[in-house]
């Protein structure tokens, strides 16, 4: 079931939580709403669910599930599955009763028979790998298990769309990884349309077919994870999606100068700020005619696939972070206190007035 939002806005008192938003989600898509707290992502999700109502004025918005206009349909009748941030399991009911709840409250005419309910609940519990826990109470389960019960409960009523509010926010890193992979599988297997909210960029990029980046009640960009990471539309998206190094300086005749550092750039004259990702910095023992950026290593952390190196210099306002392959790390024999030269492979510049992005590439 596709989801189409048209002109959806929301005020809470005098504060605007959402600026008027349009959003189309295809059938079978898994879409992540990504943004910092206060960006309006949870409000948007709750409006899709019908847990909040969008503003009526000045021009009323519209929410369509497929061809069905659900704008004024009560959450009870929207046929959604909602997974709450802290699960919101019914504390006084067993796991079985939690999952069965949505089925047992159906109008008598539509309600499946007791055996059918039983069969369906056990099928769901099997799917979430909790067959043996039917008689436990929520308080007796771990966070990850509670989250799976909450998912099974939402899926039991066979919703048209599945909505998840920070589904993994309260879990520890390892369980989170596991559940993410599992949710992806589940999504591929059953192919329902899902929207989830997260503030974790890694989670959004890993899980989503498309990511909606939000800030201050606005949609900043909607794209696939690859496109999003490779060509962020503006500075906010670029900064939110990963670590950023800044280089501020004055450009004159195609050279950016900052203290005793300078870099050849293809930019008009004036004060400029360049943004670089840590993996876009190469370290070398010598400067080149295009790039003279002397730095000192202040910290080394050889954890994971790459080595993280912290760099400082007089001309830098904030230290830089560079990631280096282990092979290069060994070749250069990097150590703390070493003086080197940084060479940007790639940089970006976002001009605030035009929202244009200029990217530069150095063959380094």
């Amino acid at each position: 079931m596709s989801i189409r939002l048209h002109n959806i806005a929301k005020h809470f008192g005098a504060t605007q939580a959402l600026e008027p938003i349009d959003l189309d989600i295809q059938e079978g898509e898994l879409v992540g709403l990504l943004g910092p707290s206060g960006s309006g992502k949870t409000t948007l999700l709750r409006i899709i669910a019908g847990l909040e109502n969008a503003d009526h004025t000045p021009t009323p918005g519209k929410i369509l599930f497929g061809e069905r206009d659900v704008t004024h349909v009560h959450v009870r009748d929207r046929r959604i599955g909602f997974v709450f941030q802290h699960y919101a399991l019914f504390r006084h009911m067993s796991v079985y009763d939690n999952v069965a709840f949505g089925l047992t409250v159906m109008p008598r005419a539509q309600r499946p028979s007791a055996q059918d309910i039983r069969a369906r609940v056990y099928r769901l519990l099997e799917m979430v790998k909790l067959e043996g826990f039917a008689n436990r109470y929520p308080a007796q389960l771990s966070g990850g298990q509670q989250q799976r019960v909450s998912l099974a409960r939402a899926l039991a009523v066979e919703p048209d769309v599945l909505l998840l509010d920070e589904p993994f926010g309260a879990l520890d890193a390892k369980v989170r990884q596991e559940l993410r992979r599992w949710l992806r599988h589940l999504h591929e297997e059953f192919n329902f349309t899902s929207v989830f909210v997260t503030h974790d960029q890694e989670e959004a990029l890993e899980l989503s077919d498309r990511v909606v980046v939000m800030s201050n009640g606005r949609i900043e960009q909607i794209d696939t994870p690859e496109t999003l990471y490779r060509s962020p539309k503006n500075r906010f998206v670029f900064e939110f999606l990963g670590d950023v190094n800044y280089l501020e300086g004055n450009v004159h005749n195609g050279t950016l100068t900052c203290g005793d550092a300078h870099l050849t750039v293809d930019l008009p004259d004036g004060d400029e700020e360049l943004l670089l990702r840590p993996h876009e910095i190469r370290l070398a023992e010598q400067p080149t005619p295009e790039s003279h950026l002397p730095v000192t290593i202040t910290a080394i952390s050889p954890v994971g696939a790459e080595v993280r190196v912290e760099l400082e210099a007089d001309w830098l306002a904030k230290p830089w972070l560079a990631t280096v392959r282990h092979a290069d790390f060994n070749r250069l024999a990097l150590r703390r206190g070493q003086r080197l030269y940084a060479h940007p492979r790639h940089w970006r510049q976002f001009s605030e007035a035009t929202e244009n992005t200029i990217a530069g590439t150095h063959v380094a």
Binding site: G50, L51, E52, N53, D55, H56, H74
Partner: protein, 284 residues
């Protein structure tokens, strides 16, 4: 759910029953709590201010204010100390009989005031268990304002205990540990670390106890002796006027009592709200 309500307050009412619960609550509060108060003002409307003033400042009535306020203040102060001690002991220590002591704290709320009244009057009379040896010590309680204060303290002690207790329970061990690790002695730590946390609750509890004492009737009249100008409380003054069919006089005095207690209630609520906001960052 009405559309009017939606537009009016601009937020979704996803959960049902707004209209119904609002209807019941407002109707009930209006009919049961607010409407009867209008009767009081209706009664007073026929009175000129000079007449009103002369009723509420009559010598015997003023004496009753003095007795009531004085005894209530003493009772509230005793309860502040006693209640703090009890809350502390109940939260911080374990000892045999603790559950029983905890349960006993609610006795004054659960026990009908008239029962408390005749019991205290009997216990502290000159031949009662307590009264006989207190009198031997030269400290008569029955038929003095000490007896009034005692009865007030009895009926209002749970207010202090039950408001301080949860706050004390919520104080994390780390607060104690931080204070001790910084070298504070018990006395200093209590005064400078624990008391600042307890103040709001202690003041609120004591305030509630004071308000309750101002209005208490059943527990007091038996032990007070009810001597005009000496041990007559204001609630009894109202009662006496009523028995004399002096509805106007009763209403005038009652309006003073009502005004004072509502003002105090409001003050306590505002005071409490301020501290709640300070401790929980704006969310009341």
């Amino acid at each position: 759910m009405s559309h009017l309500a939606l537009r009016r307050f601009g937020s979704a009412r996803v959960l049902p029953g707004f209209g119904l619960s609002m209807g019941i609550s407002v109707l009930f509060i209006s009919l049961v709590l607010l409407l009867p108060i209008t009767g009081l003002f209706g009664q007073l409307a026929g009175l000129s201010f000079a007449e009103y003033w002369s009723i509420i400042t009559e010598g015997r009535v003023v004496a009753s204010y003095m007795v009531t306020i004085g005894a209530a203040a003493v009772a509230a102060l005793i309860n502040a100390a006693f209640g703090l001690l009890l809350a502390w002991v109940l939260v911080r220590y374990t000892f045999p009989g603790k559950r029983l002591l905890d349960a006993l704290m609610d006795l004054p709320f659960a026990l009908p005031t008239a029962v408390a009244g005749i019991t205290l009057a009997t216990l502290y009379s000159s031949n009662g268990w307590m009264g006989s040896w207190l009198e031997a010590l030269g400290l008569p309680v029955a038929q003095t304002w000490v007896g009034i204060a005692l009865a007030m303290a009895f009926t209002s002690i749970p207010f202090v205990v039950r408001t301080v207790q949860p706050v004390l329970e919520d104080m994390p061990v780390e607060v104690d540990e931080a204070a001790m690790s910084l070298g504070a002695t018990d006395g200093v730590a209590f005064r400078r670390v624990i008391m600042p946390h307890l103040w709001p609750a202690l003041v609120t509890g004591t305030g509630l106890a004071f308000v309750r004492s101002l209005g208490e009737f059943g527990a007091i009249i038996f032990i007070a002796g009810n001597m005009p100008y000496e041990t007559e409380i204001t609630a009894l003054m109202i009662f006496i006027k009523l028995q004399e069919y002096d509805y106007v006089g009763a209403s005038a005095i009652a309006s003073v009592v009502l005004f004072v207690s509502l003002a105090l209630l409001l003050a306590i609520n505002v005071w409490q709200g301020r501290f709640v906001r300070r401790l929980h960052g704006g969310k009341a």
